[in-house]
Symmetry: C2
Subunit: 350 residues, 2 copies
């Protein structure tokens, strides 16, 4: 669940803006931040970076300090940040200008400056390689194309590139949780609901394409990873085995901890409430970060996580009790058949 | 930093109230909670247990459900809880009745029902043993007596017990952070500021007496632990070596992450602000839980923790960079001499 940045030589920055002394790879849009400080006559600026970019924080603060009045205090969030729902609302409320880097907004807010961090890595060499894993366009030209926020700036170009090679590219905006056409989130693959049996994912890591393949088990998901320079085909077998194992173990559970996540955009109150109302052996637990350490002291036999589904699927084995999605819980207690199992996603959770 | 409960056979409950089906050791004062639900016509009840008692949560909820109208929803906090400053303000704001178990209030609030959990363990056998580590009353009768919230209900009796044996017992209420005479917190030992060279601590574990000994290095601190049934003398040598090692390492640091903790009762804004204002290589980081995982991704050479001092002293070695108290930072950058080093405490931080 980390958002990594590449360590490749820097190319042209993909957006206008100053080039940074400390970091030539990303454009932090310092002009926009400095302007907001002036406009609002701000005393305090809060910055929130995704995990993979926290190490750049001090450098960005140095650059901002050079350009801001001396009495403006710049601080950064130390809260975990893996996505837009990890918004540090404490820091947001207590600073005059608050900047969230690297994730596109789920909901627009005047309070927050969202700075997209577009990768300047060239995706085409690895896309070229990835076409070998796609069907020959003469046999099946239909292909879905999806990517993450970091590559959205070249999404149209990537479509053109594929079309020039004979593919018919299918794209979709997805639902309200998604800002851009073709964008995927770890918890939302509505943009891949397209009329194509194969989907090309362009982006770093396997976190997103594995979620996509779990939600669309009938689709062939090809991964073109320009960050690690590798092509692969998403294989969910390991995850699926873990899911079935967790459900089977939870069938013997006599008590359930039902987790309601208090993070913005992760609250499924009705889902949690429904389970607890119907089961005397289910106990509601509210928390922000859902980690093995925090749950270790509760004495229940299994957990149902109504928060981020990726905690369940990706971190599940790290918990000392079975951790289920809401649907997996219904299967475990016999309300749904085992073969109904689907990947848990956030569609329209706002 | 865990608040443990004993697993001894139950004795009489020390306060009136029902005896629990699931737990005969502590009195959760269910009557008081049920009454508050009726008075406020509450729909929701939030419970917060210290780490060591989270496993009792489901049992307490079972007992409450039996006594409350069926549509009242009871839930518990999954946030880490080691003390009164770990108050789950999210759950507090979103439930009609909010109960915090096991810690005495730092500040009174009508919104919160504080249920003290008094231990029913008998302290006198182990106090008897502990007198062997104290000076003979004929040579030096003066002894300070301190304990934790869990044993406050027998504090006066323990004083009497010692006086009967020839000691002159010195006790003190401490400052505003402390609720009771003779009470210590992990971050506050003002109640041991008494005219005696020896202090008897009665309570479970070494967490509190080690803090006490660090703050009062000139006092002989005897530990009578009725929970683990063991007597010892507080020895801070290991901790002190770790502190000096951290300061020495930090002398080479070129950049500092200055942590401002957002928890209620842990915010030392001016301390943090002062460091950052005076040092161009210091960067302000705001967060609630201060853990090694959360700091790993920042690229600074050392940390200054203005939040809970026990994170620094007790968990310090778990962080991958030196973690300093504010004073240790001043020593590391040459503003104070090494031999000025004192234990960091919260006195009057509200």
């Amino acid at each position: 669940m980390s958002h990594e940045s590449s360590e490749k030589p820097a190319g042209d920055l993909t957006r206008t803006g100053m080039s940074l002394r400390h970091d030539r790879e990303w454009d932090y849009e310092l002009d926009r931040i400095v302007e907001a400080v002036e406009d609002r006559d701000a005393d305090t600026v809060g910055l929130q970076f995704p995990e993979g970019l926290k190490r750049r924080g001090p450098g960005v603060i140095d650059d901002l300090r050079e350009r801001l009045p001396e009495d403006v205090r710049v601080m950064m969030s130390g809260q975990p940040c893996y996505g837009a729902c990890d918004l540090d609302t404490y820091l947001m409320k207590r600073t005059d200008v608050f900047v969230h880097f690297g994730h596109s907004p789920m909901k627009d807010s005047d309070k927050i400056i969202y700075v997209p961090l577009f990768s300047n890595v060239d995706p085409y060499p690895i896309m070229e390689e990835a076409t070998e894993e796609l069907a020959d366009p003469d046999d099946d030209p239909d292909v879905g194309l999806v990517t993450t926020a970091q590559h959205m700036n070249v999404f149209d170009d990537m479509c053109d590139w594929l079309e020039e090679r004979g593919y018919e590219v299918h794209t979709r905006r997805g639902d309200d949780r998604l800002t851009h056409e073709g964008q995927v989130l770890g918890c939302n693959y509505a943009s891949a609901d397209v009329g194509a049996d194969q989907v090309l994912y362009v982006g770093g890591g396997k976190f997103h394409p594995l979620g996509l393949a779990m939600e669309h088990p009938d689709k062939h998901v090809v991964i073109a990873d320009p960050v690690n320079n590798v092509v692969s085909v998403a294989d969910t077998e390991k995850f699926m085995k873990q899911r079935y194992a967790a459900v089977h173990k939870a069938m013997d559970a006599e008590s359930f901890g039902v987790i309601f996540c208090t993070k913005i955009g992760q609250g499924r109150w009705e889902t949690a409430e429904e389970i607890v109302a119907a089961n005397d052996d289910a106990y509601l637990i509210t928390m922000d970060e859902v980690t093995p350490d925090r749950l270790r002291n509760f004495d229940v036999d299994a957990y149902v996580n109504t928060g981020c589904p990726r905690i369940t699927t990706d971190d599940g084995p790290q918990f000392d009790r079975p951790m289920l999605t809401p649907q997996e819980y219904r299967i475990a207690v016999g309300e749904e058949p085992l073969d109904a199992m689907e990947f848990d996603t956030f569609h329209g959770t706002w």
